[in-house]
């Protein structure tokens, strides 16, 4: 399972980078979305995958019974998802505004600030 996940993570990273290197800004954003998902999946895999119960404490007890999954990786991923949601929402607004101003979907036409 772990090696399968590792391959999936690798493919996601590769796809993300390929999309980011395209000239279209829409594809750039798609690349960023894939990239953040790849990072989340990497945390999930690297944190160790165990077939165990969810880490919830039963009613009236102080600690969970038996083997439970590591709650921290899930908390990390949830936080990372929330953050990337916010940032990517911003990125979408940004490219929308940029498109309105520049009237181009081509990164090669956006070189004014590099001269």
């Amino acid at each position: 399972m772990e090696s399968l996940m590792a391959i999936v993570v690798g493919i996601l990273y590769a796809t993300a980078l390929y999309m980011m290197l395209r000239r279209s800004i829409i594809k750039l954003v798609i690349g960023l979305i894939l990239l953040s998902n790849a990072a989340n999946l990497l945390i999930f895999t690297a944190g160790g995958m165990t077939p165990a119960a969810p880490p919830l404490v039963p009613e009236g007890m102080l600690q969970p019974e038996g083997l439970v999954a590591d709650p921290l990786t899930q908390a990390l991923i949830l936080t990372a998802i929330v953050i990337s949601f916010g940032v990517l929402a911003f990125a979408v607004v940004l490219i929308h505004r940029a498109y309105e101003v520049v009237k181009q979907d081509d990164m090669d036409m956006m070189k004014d600030t590099d001269r």
């Binding site: 960023l32 990786t73 953050i83 911003f90 990164m107």
Partner: protein
């Protein structure tokens, strides 16, 4: 445990929330802006004083014990950085009163400024790597929005590069966090520092990979050599107050994290990382200063100089002797104040002449001789002339290089110092000294409706920061001692680890 530790994070958060709640009233936002950043400055002074007198301060947020909960830690380096945040924030807030157009205030300039400061202060004070990531993102989101306020074409183009490369760096950072958690099972900095030395031989390779991943991620944030292209493409596009705070603080957060990580946490395999850092530092210095030599736009020259100065700091870290670390810390202190000030001066020049192009400027010394002085102080300090702050900063680093026998690095540092002087003289000649080109006096940028013709609020922060530069130069001894104590804490992380996790029996 001291309340003063959480205040530098809470004050800007609260100020940001309040000014967002009062988004309809410009007046309320401006008052909250000045009072909030003033309170941040005050709390950061208190924090530095407490940290200096009583040693490393730790607060377990929500009373969850480390390494399980999130801790806020202030050692001397963190406290110094927060103080610099307070100074830059306050100066920028004053400057913003007159230099930010109404339109931008309406679109949330002040809340974003506070949010940015909260993110920066949080990044300096947190003792948890994932929490560091969260503060980084807070800071980035605020900076994304600040950089496109106004919505001009250049801003959009710059912002797309800025956003893409910073998001890419965040993704690398996050991946490295995931791998680090897989290896050590903890993300508390003190705990990681301890556990990394117990990693079995078979996993050492993985640790090296993680360390390089972090290095690349933070080098992008710090705009170090091959990864700096987003900075000169974007830093000259927003309002000048925004440029100033970006130039002063944002890349330095990256540098701060490099200092934190590669002294305390990844200090075992210095052969690999610090060799990379050494070359990175030298090339960063050179490319930055050469890039600046080719430019003829005020803020672009300054942007390229940020890169070259970052190189000095990284060089201090890379030489990795106690003296070099002291030099690096000293350099950061000096640089933040000087760089923010130079950007503020460029904004005032724009206000007076309506352009940033050196070719179209001139004759300012004749009409505003005092402004010439307030430009020369930070400019010569940046180039490293005695007795200003930059001289001592460069002197310590170069001396450390000589002692460590890094002759190439010393030579590069000296040449770059000379070229920096050349750049600053170029600005001086073009903007202040040469005769004004035809009709340039008439091009004064129109004042925004609400500010009147007074330039007091432009001068006040500029003069304040310039005097601070002189003060660092004159009182170099006590400040050197402060930097020395901060470096001492970084190189002997035992004190930090014990403060966070409790003393081991």
């Amino acid at each position: 445990m001291s309340v003063s530790l959480a205040l530098p994070v809470l004050i800007p958060l609260l100020a940001g929330a309040l000014s967002l709640a009062f988004w309809r009233s410009h007046l309320a936002q401006r008052w909250i802006g000045v009072i909030g950043t003033g309170a941040l400055l005050w709390s950061s002074i208190v924090l530095l004083k407490v940290t200096w007198q009583d040693g490393i301060q730790v607060m377990h947020m929500g009373s969850w014990a480390a390494p399980f909960g999130i801790v806020l830690v202030s050692d001397l380096l963190g406290a110094i950085m927060v103080l610099l945040t307070g100074i830059t924030g306050f100066a920028t807030a004053l400057y913003s009163l007159v230099s930010i157009p109404r339109e931008h205030e309406k679109f949330g300039y002040y809340p974003l400024l506070h949010l940015l400061l909260a993110g920066v202060a949080g990044a300096f004070l947190t003792g948890d790597i994932f929490n560091l990531y969260v503060w980084f993102e807070v800071m980035l989101v605020a900076s994304f929005a600040l950089i496109i306020l106004g919505g001009e074409r250049a801003q959009m183009e710059g912002a797309i590069k800025y956003v893409t490369l910073n998001l890419f760096s965040s993704a690398l950072f996050l991946s490295a966090i995931g791998l680090l958690y897989g290896v050590t099972g903890t993300l508390n900095m003190a705990d990681v520092a301890q556990k990394l030395s117990q990693v079995p031989e078979a996993e050492q390779g993985l640790v090296s990979v993680i360390s390089i991943l972090f290095l690349v991620a933070f080098a992008i944030k710090a705009a170090a050599f091959p990864l700096f292209f987003w900075l000169p493409a974007s830093y000259h596009t927003p309002q000048v107050a925004v440029s100033a705070i970006f130039a002063g603080l944002l890349t330095k957060v990256g540098v701060y994290v490099l200092f934190r990580f590669y002294t305390m946490i990844f200090a075992d395999d210095t052969e690999l990382t610090h060799t990379i850092l050494l070359w990175m530092g030298m090339l960063t210095m050179l490319t930055g200063v050469l890039g600046a030599a080719a430019q003829y736009e005020f803020r672009r020259i300054l942007s390229f100089h940020i890169i070259s100065q970052i190189g000095y700091m990284i060089l201090g870290l890379a030489i990795f002797t106690p003296l070099a670390i002291v030099g690096g810390v000293f350099y950061i202190m000096h640089h933040i104040i000087v760089k923010a000030n130079l950007f503020l001066v460029s904004g005032l020049v724009y206000r007076l002449r309506g352009t940033y192009e050196l070719k179209e400027l001139g004759g300012l010394y004749r009409s505003h001789p005092w402004l010439g002085l307030w430009f020369l102080i930070p400019a010569l300090s940046l180039a490293g002339l005695p007795p200003l702050s930059g001289f001592f900063a460069k002197f310590v680093i170069i001396r450390a290089g000589v002692e460590a026998g890094e002759w190439l690095a010393v030579a590069v540092a000296l040449i770059v110092g000379l070229l920096t002087l050349y750049s600053m003289i170029k600005i001086w000649n073009e903007v202040f000294w040469k005769a004004a080109p035809e009709g340039c006096e008439q091009r004064e940028a129109p004042p925004y409706t609400h500010q009147g013709n007074s330039l007091v609020m432009y001068y006040l922060p500029i003069i304040g920061l310039a005097l601070m530069t002189v003060l660092i130069g004159v009182a170099a001894q006590p400040i050197y001692e402060l930097a020395e104590a901060a470096a001492e804490q970084l190189l002997n992380p035992v004190g930090y680890i014990e403060a966070v996790l409790g003393a081991k029996p």
